[in-house]
């Protein structure tokens, strides 16, 4: 029996606790069933899904950098129909909330994805307007407020599911995009996706990734992610799911203090498959030690305290 109330209500999306796993880093959850009690997770954002199956990019698809990694998976996935028919049924009995991360090349793609998933029994949709690894669409939607809003409106029109919009950090002013998607009707904002980066092999004198560029994730990007959460929390009213470099409970708490209502863990799952459980326990300890009754009591405290 937990001494603190960890449940969060993200504008209708109710999670038993604020710890979720980030899209593309946790498969469909099941891949990690040997390592942890999946039922105790707040939510699982499943791998980015597209309208049609995608082969993704050639290999190498990943490269390590200092305190980080680059990936250019290129959204390899079996497509939304296969997801609904073959995969969702296998994970529907877990206690975590299944959130499907969707990506399209066009606004229409997003709308179709939303309409197909509307009755699929998932808890929410995460609209990825920020994937840096696909040539068309993706990143462009995430860097221009009008386009971002257009995608959200189109998806909104097709679904009653709670709608999370996932922002790209590769912008000059993230609050501008955040306000645009809030106005367009998103229920929740998640941030950040990866920073666009690159690594070169000095022996072959070529980029290491077959795709040349890829998305930077991991501890290296945490300061950028925390800053963006802090800025967006002050710019919008919708709840936030913060992510980017979370490796332990301290990191997760930083995001909550910066204004995130829930958090998501990505790259750290690869390093330590049990990290999400450790984050959950560490968060609970912190709340108990500091006499909080409810996790929401610490959300945004760094904003308030720095105004004192």
């Amino acid at each position: 029996m937990s001494k603190v109330n960890l449940a969060v209500d993200l504008n209708g999306l109710k999670l038993q606790n604020p710890v979720t796993t980030a899209s593309g880093t946790f498969g469909f959850g099941e891949e990690y069933q040997d390592y942890l009690d999946l039922d105790s997770l707040g939510g699982v954002m499943v791998k980015g899904t597209t309208l049609h199956p995608k082969q993704g990019n050639p290999t190498p698809r990943i490269a390590e950098t200092k305190a980080g990694m680059l990936n250019a998976i290129g959204l390899q996935n079996p497509g939304v129909d296969y997801l609904i028919k073959e995969i969702l049924p296998t994970i529907k009995d877990y206690d975590f909330k299944t959130i499907v991360n969707i990506s399209g090349n066009t606004v229409k793609d997003y709308a179709k994805l939303a309409s197909k998933l509307n009755q699929a029994g998932v808890a929410a949709l995460e609209v990825n307007i920020s994937c840096p690894n696909v040539k068309q669409g993706g990143l462009a939607f995430g860097t221009q407020p009008e386009m971002a809003a257009g995608v959200v409106e189109a998806v909104r029109a097709e679904t009653d599911l709670p709608l999370i919009t996932k922002l790209s950090p590769n912008v000059a002013d993230i609050t501008e995009i955040a306000r645009a998607v809030e106005e367009a009707g998103t229920d929740v904002i998640s941030l950040i996706n990866t920073l666009l980066g690159m690594k070169i092999d000095i022996d072959s004198q070529k980029p290491i990734l077959a795709n040349q560029m890829g998305g930077l994730s991991g501890p290296a990007i945490k300061p950028v992610a925390v800053r963006m959460v802090y800025q967006v929390a002050q710019a919008v009213d919708v709840p936030l799911i913060g992510m980017g470099g979370i490796s332990n409970a301290q990191d997760a708490i930083e995001f909550l203090l910066a204004g995130a209502d829930a958090i998501s863990i990505g790259t750290a799952n690869f390093v330590n498959p049990q990290v999400s459980m450790e984050v959950l326990e560490g968060l609970e300890d912190y709340l108990v030690e500091n006499d909080y009754d409810n996790v929401s009591e610490i959300v945004g405290n760094a904003i308030n305290n720095s105004k004192l």
Partner: protein, 265 residues
């Protein structure tokens, strides 16, 4: 069932320049692991911080169920394996495993060839032992740059296998590539191969020509090791002639059927 555990190193020894052999006490993994499977390793030490960030995949070189130990043999390549080599008996190591599919053993095949090159020799010992236990006739072709780099040579010399060797510098066996010796083989029912891509590709071409079935053990850069991240994929032929799919080396592999691997892409 794979698990993540922190285990104690029993011994660590430099067996030839830059090549290390590490024995780890891990009874549960030793009990479950099958030839061809691998571990995903991290050095447990607060002091190292997060560099490198990711784990490192290393094959099981021997599995001792009785003693409850497993052994790996690895070459120092970069920072990750360098760190690994600095560990000593008594230190702890963080491992996920056993991971991946194991070699499959065909009941009907009795004359087996195994072609290993360089570090690709490392995962073969448990397979050889398994095949000998099943009374298969094993021809083992091992290639390396030098005699020193022929992993487990002494062990193989004690076993009832037909051993053929090639080294680049001629310090042991024939001088040249191990694939040069493929033509000497006859009446093989099944072939296993693990080593440099170029070598495995030649083995695949030869097997195709000779109409021999078999398996290859592949290597790809890995993130999760659990099938979640899709970073470790390789091109595998499926269905009709030119169709292929990206399959995950970590969970669908690292062992794939020979003849279906599209190398070099």
């Amino acid at each position: 069932m794979a698990q993540q555990v922190i285990k104690e190193i029993v011994t660590q020894k430099e067996i030839s320049p830059n090549h290390f052999k590490m024995v780890i006490r891990a009874p549960k993994i030793a009990k479950e692991a099958q030839p061809g499977q691998f571990l995903h390793l991290k050095w447990v030490n607060d002091l190292t911080g997060q560099d490198p960030l990711l784990r490192r995949p290393i094959s099981l070189n021997s599995i001792d169920q009785a003693k409850g130990t497993i052994t790996i043999i690895y070459r120092v390549i970069g920072r990750g394996t360098k760190l690994l080599s600095s560990l000593q008996a008594g230190d702890e190591i963080d491992l996920m495993g056993p991971l991946g599919e194991s070699f499959s053993v065909s009941d009907s095949a009795s004359k087996i060839a195994i072609v290993g090159g360089g570090m690709g020799i490392a995962p073969l010992l448990p397979l050889v032992n398994q095949l000998l236990d099943l009374d298969k006739q094993v021809t083992l072709l091992l290639g390396a740059n030098t005699k020193e780099q022929l992993i487990n040579l002494a062990e193989y010399q004690k076993l009832d296998v037909n051993l053929k060797i090639a080294t680049r510098d001629g310090s042991c066996g024939q001088q040249g590539f191990i694939t040069d010796l493929l033509t000497e083989l006859s009446k093989i029912d099944y072939v296993y191969t693990c080593g440099p891509e170029i070598m495995m590709e030649k083995v695949q071409d030869w097997a195709k020509q000779e109409k021999i079935v078999g398996e290859a053990s592949l290597e790809e850069r890995m993130g999760c090791g659990t099938g979640a991240c899709l970073s470790c994929v390789c091109k595998i032929k499926v269905g009709s002639k030119d169709d292929w799919q990206y399959q995950k080396t970590c969970t669908q592999g690292p062992i794939f059927p020979l003849g279906e691997v599209i190398f070099g892409e």
